[in-house]
């Protein structure tokens, strides 16, 4: 299930602001995540978990330290290089769904393929496949406003999956959903992980983190402890 090291962090720090107003959100994080792992990052707000997620998702760069993604150092990359990396290897699921309004579910899912330069027919086909996978095939023509929260999050997951990424980063994906929908989403993520996609989940809810093979607890910008889950038998080294 798990393979070689996908993500390696060494001494990652992140400081916002300068001088006396400076705030250190991460104070030196070492972390290694293997291919195929389902890891949850837990912590209270202000623990640094969101900053960690942004850095892991190549949306942000660390102030210092080394971040290797598939062996390549990300912190030295340009903005556009990081965009290309996200485009090819990463899929995002956000708490607020972040779908394009007044745009059909199908077109939302097609969007990443558009930036990949895929032909229209191929985009359609792949997007429909992804929507079917999350069980929303019949809703392809609906706009986000016409879908429930759970359905919107499924569309977002389909959008993240459509490029067949290696890692799916989910930032509080169940934060806006009731418990029943939350369980559905978590089951879906678990299924995807079993199918081979590495998943990084940020959450503050223990029930959600319990789906992960590994739980990383953050506190005050540092990793407090690791906990190996039992569902997937995933492995983490630090």
């Amino acid at each position: 299930m798990t393979g070689e090291s996908l993500i390696e962090l060494e001494g990652i720090t992140k400081t916002y602001g300068q001088g006396t107003a400076a705030f250190q959100a991460l104070k030196g994080v070492d972390l290694s995540i293997a291919q195929g792992e389902f890891a949850a990052i837990m912590g209270a707000s202000g623990s640094g978990k969101s900053t960690m997620m942004n850095i892991l998702g190549c949306l942000d760069t660390p102030t210092s330290g080394t971040y290797r993604f598939k062996g390549v150092e990300v912190q030295a990359m340009s903005k556009d290089q990081r965009s290309l990396l996200r485009r090819r290897y990463l899929g995002f699921v956000f708490q607020g769904f972040n779908l394009l309004a007044r745009t059909s579910a199908l077109e939302n899912v097609e969007l990443p393929l558009l930036y990949r330069g895929e032909q229209k027919a191929l985009r359609r086909e792949a997007a429909m496949k992804a929507l079917d996978l999350v069980g929303l095939g019949p809703w392809a023509d609906h706009t986000p406003a016409e879908l429930s929260g759970g359905q919107q999050q499924r569309v977002a997951i389909a959008r993240a999956l459509v490029t067949e990424p290696e890692v799916l980063l989910a930032d509080e994906p169940t934060g806006n959903l009731d418990s029943e929908r939350s369980i559905e989403i978590m089951e879906l993520l678990s299924q995807l992980n079993r199918d081979g996609i590495s998943i990084l989940l940020v959450t503050h809810e223990a029930e959600m983190a319990a789906y992960a093979g590994t739980i990383v607890y953050f506190r005050d910008g540092l990793i407090e402890r690791f906990e190996r889950g039992h569902r997937n038998g995933a492995r983490v080294t630090a």
């Binding site: 942004n54 998702g57 949306l59 942000d60 903005k79 556009d80 965009s83 290309l84 990396l85 996200r86 485009r87 090819r88 990463l90 995002f92 956000f94 972040n98 779908l99 394009l100 309004a101 007044r102 969007l111 990443p112 558009l114 930036y115 990949r116 330069g117 959008r159």
Partner: protein, 399 residues
């Protein structure tokens, strides 16, 4: 990818149809104003050229001109005409003219017109043809007979339609004369109706009965095109200076108009005027461009979250920039296209209203369209760059 970007831009514009339309009005008015001005300028130039051509080609006109405020210019007399005819090489015909506004009466009708004292040579020099009747005989010119040749406008206004006016009497102020002919319309340019609203009488008669002086208003000279205009002009100047006893160093107390040179001068003046007015109209295009920039900035702010999503899923900065730039350019192109059609209507209507020919210039229309597209690039660039430089994390957090 570009096709998709274009489609997306169209969709965005349609989504905010009212806003897009209002924004585009600036560009529409700008493009329409520029094209209308240039089109009218072209029409005006063409018309003026036609009117100047109606002076006749290879024609010089000499008229008195003051040299300074204290000295009246010395008017020309019939002697000058004779001297030019006899002493100047290359002259085909030369004639003097003097005119005065008069009231013309006939059959109980009354019409404001103009009496022109002319000669048979004048008709030759100015290239005026005859519609009916005959021209003056030398005997009539010599005697200053009470005969006249009426213009087509006078004919139309106070004579009975369809019945020959020849032999009828027409009274100009207190002077009665017999109509011996009707000259052909001189109006070749469109609205110079005044030239047709005129009554020709022998020069001597007009001097005696109307102006009360033996002076003439101007001398018209038609010359052999084998001679250059400059040569003829120079010898004319020399001759007139001599006859006016001007010392060297004293300025000419007359002026000479050359129809060809006049044509060039007027055309270039109108062309420059057109450019100036078009440039002023261009300012409204600039204002329209600022409007586009403004609405694009609003759009970028409104769609910050969308930009964040696009960046997060891997859009490159230049792809986001292209998206917004395309939107601005499409907006401007729509404006340009509508502006062109608007200009077509306005300039056609205005040309009709001010009686100049309507001349459609595809080059100016194409240029204006390209220019409006360029406005999209120039004024869309800053908002597009701003969109592309957003931080994805910040953008995603934007409410």
């Amino acid at each position: 990818m570009f096709g998709a970007t274009l489609l997306l831009a169209m969709r965005q514009i349609r989504r905010h149809l009212l806003r897009s339309s209002l924004t585009t009005i600036g560009i529409i008015i700008g493009v329409a104003a520029v094209i209308t001005m240039v089109t009218l300028g072209k029409g005006l130039t063409a018309q003026i050229q036609k009117q100047i051509a109606s002076l006749g080609s290879d024609v010089l006109i000499a008229f008195p001109q003051e040299t300074d405020q204290n000295r009246q210019p010395r008017p020309f007399k019939q002697d000058d005409v004779i001297a030019v005819r006899q002493q100047l090489a290359g002259v085909r015909s030369v004639a003097g003219e003097v005119n005065q506004n008069v009231q013309a009466f006939h059959n109980g009708q009354n019409w404001s017109s103009k009496v022109e004292g002319v000669s048979d040579a004048f008709m030759d020099a100015r290239g005026i043809g005859m519609d009916q009747g005959r021209r003056f005989t030398p005997a009539e010119e010599e005697a200053g007979a009470n005969v006249c040749i009426i213009g087509p406008k006078v004919l139309q206004e106070i004579f009975v339609a369809g019945i020959s006016p020849l032999g009828e009497q027409v009274r100009l102020n207190d002077v009665s004369c017999t109509v011996i002919g009707v000259f052909a319309s001189r109006a070749q340019g469109g609205n110079n109706q005044d030239d047709d609203n005129s009554v020709f009488m022998p020069l001597k008669n007009v001097q005696r009965r109307f102006t009360g002086a033996d002076t003439i208003g101007y001398i018209v000279i038609s010359y052999d095109p084998a001679y250059s205009s400059a040569t003829i002009q120079q010898s004319l100047i020399d001759l007139l200076r001599e006859r006016h006893h001007l010392q060297s160093g004293q300025p000419n107390d007359f002026n000479i108009i050359d129809s060809a040179a006049l044509n060039d001068t007027v055309s270039s003046v109108v062309a420059r005027l057109t450019m100036a007015v078009a440039a002023i109209a261009g300012i409204s295009l600039l204002v329209g461009g600022v409007g586009i920039m403004n609405i694009m900035l609003v759009s970028v702010t409104e769609r910050t979250r969308e930009i964040g999503i696009r960046l997060a899923i891997g859009a490159l900065a230049r792809e986001v920039r292209l998206q917004f730039l395309t939107e601005a350019v499409v907006l401007c192109c729509f404006g340009g296209l509508i502006g062109i059609f608007l200009a077509l209507g306005i300039s056609f209507g205005l040309a009709k209203a001010i009686d100049v020919p309507f001349i459609f210039d595809p080059f100016v229309n194409a240029l204006s369209f390209v220019f409006s597209a360029m406005m999209g690039i120039i004024f869309g660039y800053y908002p597009a760059r701003r969109a592309s430089r957003l931080d994805p994390i910040e953008a995603l957090r934007h409410e």
